[in-house]
Subunit: 337 residues, 2 copies
């Protein structure tokens, strides 16, 4: 067990799991149940990239320098402010003899565990990245442990599209599971025009729910309206609890896909008694959610959006393949990056 979750890679503090560690050993020599990936591209978590971009006022050179410094210092791309990471794609370079992962040398793969726990070494100084996008071309090595999740990239999808889907694939799978616990539910997605948001809407509708979306701008409303994923769309600032409640009305299920702090209370107010709030945003504050629900005397179930549901990657890719509107939203988003 010890080796399989990567304890041997933890440098400090001792005894914690890699995700909780301040610093990992990212050396490329693998242990018997590890896998080494030759990295091709990082996909930074949206909350993490936003924090870096805001801190450096959009200066790409400084953003690039800080990403390099984080990886050099921590042995992983683990943003110390947001606590979030992202994912990567690359090619399997070496597979330890005891690795249980279903990959072989030469497979093009995406890691489905967070960069916050993935030992990472960058060897090209990120020369091919201008610092202005979450998508980071990179050369280097990453390590997967025995207990990990990795997806071989589908042949029929461009790798950046597959990566973008894998990045948020926990969301639609969990939405599907929760929707099926209700009878004829209404689902509202805060941030419905984004990646996890649009996949959540598609999953909710396929599972039989009525769907609403809250978006932040007319441009997003128009894009989502064209996609036809939501029965109703309203424009509101997700941080404005009263506006969200007014726009969304009471719902059985509220899904939070807005990567900015302060969306907890609106989500709770938008949820009917007996309903469920699913928090997928890494900007969620545990205390704001727990105390907010209490303070509002709200009898709602609040779920931490677990990024893992068995079969989640295949589920999300299937949604993308079978819902052309979702695919178009993703392609537009990638083109606009």
């Amino acid at each position: 067990m010890a080796g399989s979750v990567g304890l041997n890679r933890v440098l400090e503090p001792a005894g914690v799991l890699p995700q909780a560690a301040w610093r990992l050993d990212a050396s490329p020599q693998i242990g018997p149940d590890e896998v080494r990936i030759r990295v091709q591209r990082l996909n930074l978590d949206a909350a993490s990239y936003r924090q870096l971009a805001e801190k450096h006022a959009g200066d790409g050179e400084n953003i690039r320098a800080e990403v390099l410094e984080i990886v050099e210092t921590r042995g992983k791309m683990h943003n110390p402010v947001t606590g979030s990471g992202g994912m990567l794609i690359g090619v399997v370079e070496e597979v330890g003899p005891e690795s249980p992962l279903p990959v072989k040398v030469g497979d093009r793969v995406a890691t489905l565990v967070s960069l916050t726990l993935t030992p990472l070494r960058i060897t090209d100084d990120l020369q091919g990245w201008d610092g202005l996008s979450e998508q980071v071309p990179a050369d280097g090595t990453a390590i997967l442990f025995g207990r990990s999740i990795v997806g071989v990239l589908p042949d029929d999808l461009p790798p950046e599209l597959a990566l973008a889907v894998y990045d948020v694939c926990g969301a639609p799978a969990l939405v599907d599971r929760v929707v099926r616990q209700y009878r004829d539910p209404s689902v509202v997605v805060l941030g419905g025009a984004g990646k996890s948001g649009s996949l959540s809407l598609a999953a909710a509708r396929r599972a039989g729910a009525r769907t609403k979306a809250i978006v932040v701008s007319e441009a997003e409303r128009d894009a989502l309206s064209e996609a036809g994923l939501a029965d109703e769309i309203a424009i509101a600032d997700a941080r404005d609890a009263v506006a969200v409640a007014a726009a969304a009305g009471p719902n059985d299920i509220t899904v939070v896909c807005v990567d900015v702090p302060g969306c907890e209370h609106g989500a709770i107010l938008a949820t009917a008694p007996g309903g469920t709030v699913i928090f997928f945003s890494m900007a969620t504050s545990f205390a704001a959610a727990a105390l907010g629900a209490e303070g509002l005397a709200a009898d709602v179930t609040m779920l931490v959006g677990n990024g893992y549901v068995p079969g989640h990657a295949e589920f999300a890719v299937d949604l993308l393949r079978t819902t052309p509107a979702v695919r178009r939203l993703f392609e537009k988003r990638i083109a606009g990056d």
Copy 2:
């Protein structure tokens, strides 16, 4: 609706709910649907008090000064570091003509919403408090909004005992609800000897679960063993994920009642696939939970411990009345404060 959640009390930033606000208007004049309480005692949240005590190295005078400064600055006892508050008891002094709360002037009550959203003014400089305990004798005024939760103190329990129970009453009610969703489940409580922990164990057992507890010391183990609330008790540091997993084994339900950061991963590892983790500790990190479960490929449901479940106060008081062992644990804890 606007008045009922206290929006009129928010000074900055505008538009957020009182819990999210930096500063509230704590003036004692009440609006038509508000209630004013004459404060007698604050019960600081454990995580908040711990942070203050550590910061000031146990210097009671400095702890007292910082609590006064927080209340003066923010208009509420909302610890800016931990984000948590606590509760209070007092006597109803004035009831607005439109208040829907079931109280009358002269009732001795406990507020069941967090101090983080309760407008509070302290008028006695906390002269009666030595700063060395979470229980803070105080004089001043607090305001309750229309949409709030308040409990009249039971006649048969000392007020500090009722307050201690009310402080954690969301935990046993939610544990009861989750246990009843499983068939013959095993439940492990991290921090089983504490207030929310012992009530959670009692609730789990009453709902038919097999119970285990993880505690931090031999003293806690002996106290809990004497109380007979857990079928098994093990000693482990809840922050040591590997130790917790080894001691707890896989469980259907894991309840986190340890008010220190870093318990997310052990809780996830202690939970079987298909199981549920309930996080009651205000020291829980949303990102650590979400990314930890993903990184461990753990198919577990993770609940933000909502402090409100309908009937939670009566449920917890009933557990205390009918489980003498729980009452003894609470009384010991209060005596030791």
